[in-house]
């Protein structure tokens, strides 16, 4: 009996309805917190004594970078669940994650490079964090490429799940190797993030943005998941009922 909820989670119509019901619970708080966080970060927080107002891009950059890793992990974990327990919905979750993850990663790269422009006087520096982020983008693109290269959805699900798992094992190794590579070449990084010594007035907006981005991801994921379920189950009879209702 304890397994009923587990099985219901595997049923597409149930997931479709559940996702629809849950979306506003994430979307509205995400919207409110984004406005609050941005206002606090861009207006209320004091300028940095060294970087002036330039540092304020961290309120988008840091949460994006953090989300890129979190989305990859979510993707790999749901892919593993799909692979091991053969739950189709878990594969649909993984599939929905990829494009969003790539977008967050891309946003982190662009904002990082924009931040770098006034600091280094150049848009691209071979900074270890930016390089790690770039490799992560390649991993996302590879995952999406593999998926789109396989016509059969189930096979695409399972093959790309193996890739996601291999990738998630590799991410820390890549990160470590890139850090090591950087320490080797001693390029003094101007691109230093504020440590824990950051004053509360700067830190609170950042934490708010973290929460806002996470909720936004959840809301987007649920929405994408519904689209994914619709396209996968397009020939099922329950879809006709949902669409005509």
């Amino acid at each position: 009996m304890a397994w009923t909820w587990f099985h219901r989670l595997g049923s597409p119509p149930y997931i479709y309805a559940l996702a629809a019901r849950l979306t506003p619970w994430f979307a509205w708080p995400a919207a409110v917190l984004t406005i609050v966080g941005l206002y606090a970060g861009l207006v209320l927080a004091p300028p940095d004594y060294q970087q002036g107002d330039g540092y304020r891009i961290i309120y988008v950059h840091v949460p994006s970078a953090w989300m890129s890793l979190m989305v990859y992990t979510t993707m790999a974990v749901s892919a593993a669940i799909g692979l091991i327990w053969r739950i189709k919905v878990a594969h649909a979750v993984a599939a929905s994650c990829a494009a969003m993850g790539a977008t967050f990663t891309f946003a982190a790269l662009v904002t990082g490079s924009l931040w770098g422009a006034p600091m280094w006087g150049t848009y691209w520096e071979w900074d270890p964090r930016l390089v790690s982020e770039l490799i992560l983008l390649f991993l996302f693109l590879g995952y999406m490429g593999l998926r789109s290269a396989i016509d059969d959805v189930q096979r695409a699900d399972r093959i790309s799940a193996v890739l996601a798992i291999v990738g998630v094992i590799n991410v820390p190794i890549i990160h470590f190797s890139v850090e090591w590579w950087n320490s080797l070449h001693q390029t003094s990084s101007v691109f230093r993030r504020a440590g824990p010594a950051m004053p509360m007035s700067m830190l609170l907006p950042l934490l708010t943005m973290f929460v806002a981005f996470t909720l936004m991801f959840a809301a987007l994921l649920l929405t994408r998941l519904r689209a994914e379920v619709l396209s996968r189950e397009r020939s099922a009879s329950w879809i006709r009922e949902v669409v005509s209702a």
Binding site: L146, V162, V166, I174, S177, W180
Partner: protein, 247 residues
């Protein structure tokens, strides 16, 4: 198995005894997989040499594109050698799995009663013997031509030899993932190269330290650690992917 029994057999209660045969021990099975791939490669020596020729050509391009000045080439030599080795290793991978998938050999491996993981490990070993090892022997020649001193040869051989083990294993994952894919060549590279970045970083670092006459043991150990991790995990992932592609 050669004798066919003439008496009538009670068809409902056949015991398994009439099908007794000695299963091949795992080690012998792996040796057969390895021997088959090596023999096939030696039947077509031209194809076997292609990655090495490719490696030689790529390393030749760099002095032509940059400068013939050895003092400058010496600086980029580790990078050149490693990028060329990485690409050559990839080049050979595609054939190795593709043919086996096409002619049903992988299917028979999966149905052999042996561990598919283990058989694919043997297959990866053959890939390394056919490309990794020759590359390790060729890399110092390329490095010498790019201005590396004679004393750096052992370090270069060691780093490319160990690094190419890891590359073969990572490549095996990529090759098995792209089995059921049309025009898989580019995709194979896109999937495999990012995963190979740590090997490239540590391997190139060991090579450049060897060229500079410094102690290269730390990065070499790190490459070795990745190779060991690869040995334990990569055949598992490859076997999972092969099974999925056979479904």
């Amino acid at each position: 198995m050669t004798e066919i029994r003439n008496e009538t057999v009670d068809t409902t209660t056949t015991s398994e005894a009439s099908f007794a045969s000695t299963a091949t021990p795992a080690l012998a099975a792996a040796r057969l997989v390895l021997a088959r791939d090596l023999r096939l490669a030696f039947r077509r020596p031209g194809e076997m040499l292609q990655p090495l020729v490719f490696f030689a050509i790529v390393t030749t391009l760099f002095p032509l594109a940059i400068t013939p000045e050895l003092s400058q080439l010496r600086v980029v030599a580790p990078g050149v050698v490693w990028v060329a080795a990485l690409l050559s290793s990839l080049l050979a991978l595609e054939f190795l799995y593709r043919e086996d998938a096409h002619d049903g050999t992988l299917e028979q491996y999966a149905l052999s009663g042996q561990s598919l993981t283990w058989l694919l490990f043997a297959k990866t070993a053959s890939h390394w013997l056919l490309t990794g090892l020759p590359l390790a022997l060729m890399a110092p020649i390329a490095a010498l031509a790019l201005g590396a001193p004679m004393s750096s040869v052992p370090g270069i051989v060691a780093s490319v030899a160990v690094g190419s083990i890891a590359l073969s294993l990572i490549g095996a994952i990529g090759a098995s993932l792209t089995l059921g894919v049309r025009r898989s060549g580019v995709l194979l590279s896109i999937l495999t190269l990012p995963l190979a970045i740590p090997v490239l970083i540590f391997g190139a670092s060991a090579t450049s330290r060897a060229i500079a006459g410094e102690d290269y043991s730390a990065p070499l150990y790190l490459v070795g650690a990745i190779a060991v991790l690869g040995i334990t995990l990569a055949p598992l992932a490859a076997a999972a992917a092969v099974r999925i592609s056979l479904e």
